[in-house]
Subunit: 340 residues, 2 copies
DNA sequence: ATTAGCACTCGCTGTCGAAGAGTGCCAGGA
DNA sequence: TCCTGGCACTCTTCGACAGCGAGTGCTAAT
């Protein structure tokens, strides 16, 4: 049986009412608060069909209906138009983000802003190393046997690593290494780095080869290990605002949020910017997030996403509002990083 | 009226039982589970005195007693000896922390370890800029008009900041600036920096003076603004493990933890390492943390603390265990940073 | 196809009584 | 003087139960 327009309208009404009231919605309330032009009895018939098809369900016999994950899915896919942000909201985003002084600041500000706009948990991933380019490599001579390697990307990320030297080096030797690695890598996209690093040892004098080799190893390690790993979180307190949102406790949710790996999974795997992704309830593979929804999107300038950001909340969330906020913040962050 | 030894013993027994059972403890249970050598009736009399003096209280008439903040305070000050960690625990701390590759890693590992050991919320502050020394300053020429300033401290912190140049610079001019700032600041404690920065403009040629001035401004800003600001948090999920710990919800607690400023206040103001500080319940000035206790300590090598770390949990916490874990982790972190 | 009416289900709420835990106090004993 | 056993009292907790109200499903009429 296919759903006619009115049944879809009823589903939308149920989702909207349930999201705003947090209570199962009955046929009478629906007829009163929405201009559906039909009586409660008719709505009841439609509801029965919607329930048979698995879009809504009853917590218990004498209660109204609430949407199922499948119902929210249909709502998001076909029934909701993304509502544009108000002009003040747009201005607020812009002015708030424009004050950022460096990458850390950009990420921190975005994640807070997102948490505040959506009143949910926000996650922002740092620009992926793998999709950035090398802006500069610096070697700092800490002591005879230790060298600090600092890697700076064009998106403003700074990674550092201490390197134990096999032999003591003179200052001019450190300079030679510095020149060589910068000549080989500066300006190159990180993806090309492994190939470039291979040829580094050839660029320096014989006596520096062993050092350059261990330097190359550390470089590759740094780029590989940390390539995607950093995220920032904000708004966890929003989880507790309405305690009723989660059956049982929020413990599993908080636990899941502690795992960086999980967070990255939530946001990750994003190729093109501006394509919103919504994961609803059971669609989340992560144990413990089965009662939450995640709205995420890639950000970055041009056609390639640098990384992702998103929002996590109860399945009963304001999808249109959340989606537009997430999209707007991603757009501004992308612009901001391109300007750097 | 002064408390005799047995009353103190009764208080200790009440605290210990309440901490382990989470339930008000009555006179009979106390007589059975502790070898106090007196009858429940006697204990009841002692309890009445302890209650009059404000060390314990009754949730309601027909319930046992629970310690008050004042009771916990006495317990911590006079009745509890810090229990040493087990050998395996010590070894676990050491091996876990030894794997760290840089400062970020040290902080991340410590905070997780602390959260895991105490099963509470852990907070670790990054080494304060103001108490570190400058290890190196790097200037990276981003474009004609923009310069990236990277500040590296002897504790491994890296701070960066983009600087808009008043005029375009040639590469050799950037080098001159770099040499000058490093000559002036490298090796100096950050506390001396303001004075040193003053004299920087004199160290370069006339045409670089304006640039050096704005560089100096940014340097001072960076050191001042971010001097204490960074902390890392872990184990928030532990707050929800036993929901009964907090009257009402954990919302205010989570909200407080979102504020960096609050976290810094919790840990901050620590001068000497190894002096544990315990703040119990109402002793916390921060609104929303009135039902929690904070155990914090400074860490660092030598007589001066670099920064602080600590743990936050319900007032009903295992103080001896928490205190020893906090102290142990602080000690290892201090050693680790000294070795860097 | 829609609607009004009606019986039915079931969760929520408040009351009541019994049970249980713990106390405070008192009188007797070391 | 301090400790102890006993006892009456208070107060929460829990289960049972009835009444209420919300909401549904079904049926017959339009």
């Amino acid at each position: 049986m296919t759903l006619d327009d009115r049944k879809l309208e009823v589903l939308r009404a149920i989702v909207e009412d349930y999201v705003s009231t947090h209570e199962p919605v009955g046929s009478r309330a629906l007829a009163e608060r929405h201009c559906l032009g039909v009586s409660p009895a008719t709505i009841r018939n439609d509801m029965a069909v919607l329930e048979d098809d698995g879009y809504i369900t009853q917590p218990h016999t004498s209660a109204g209906r609430i949407p199922t994950d499948k119902g929210y899915r249909l709502f998001v896919d076909r029934l909701s138009q993304v509502k544009p942000l108000s002009a003040p909201e747009r201005r607020a985003i812009q002015t708030f983000l424009d004050g950022a002084v460096d990458l850390d600041d950009v990420v921190r500000r975005s994640v807070r802003l997102l948490a505040q706009l959506t009143r949910q948990v926000a996650v922002v991933q740092y620009p992926a190393l793998s999709r950035s380019a090398v802006r500069h490599l610096e070697l700092v001579h800490l002591s005879d046997s230790r060298l600090l390697l600092v890697l700076i990307t064009d998106t403003g990320r700074v990674e550092q690593r201490v390197l134990q030297l096999p032999t003591a080096l003179a200052e001019h030797q450190v300079a030679e290494l510095r020149t060589a690695v910068n000549a080989g890598l500066t300006g190159r996209p990180m993806a090309d780095a492994p190939a470039q690093v291979e040829s580094l040892p050839d660029a320096v004098g014989m006596e520096l080869r062993p050092v350059m080799l261990s330097l190359a190893t550390v470089l590759l390690e740094t780029m590989a290990e940390r390539s995607e790993e950093r995220v920032m979180l904000a708004g966890t307190a929003n989880l507790t605002r309405s305690a009723l949102d989660f059956p049982g406790t929020i413990h599993p949710v908080l636990e899941a949020l502690e795992e960086q790996v999980v967070l990255l999974k939530l946001i990750g795997e994003i190729e093109t910017p501006s394509t919103l992704r919504v994961r609803i309830g059971e669609e989340n593979v992560v144990e413990g997030l089965r009662d939450t929804s995640v709205v995420s999107v890639g950000y970055g300038s041009g056609g390639q996403a640098l990384a992702g950001l998103g929002v996590l909340g109860p399945t009963r969330m304001d999808y249109p509002g959340t989606m537009s906020a997430v999209r707007a913040v991603a757009r501004y962050v992308g612009e901001l990083l391109a300007r750097q």
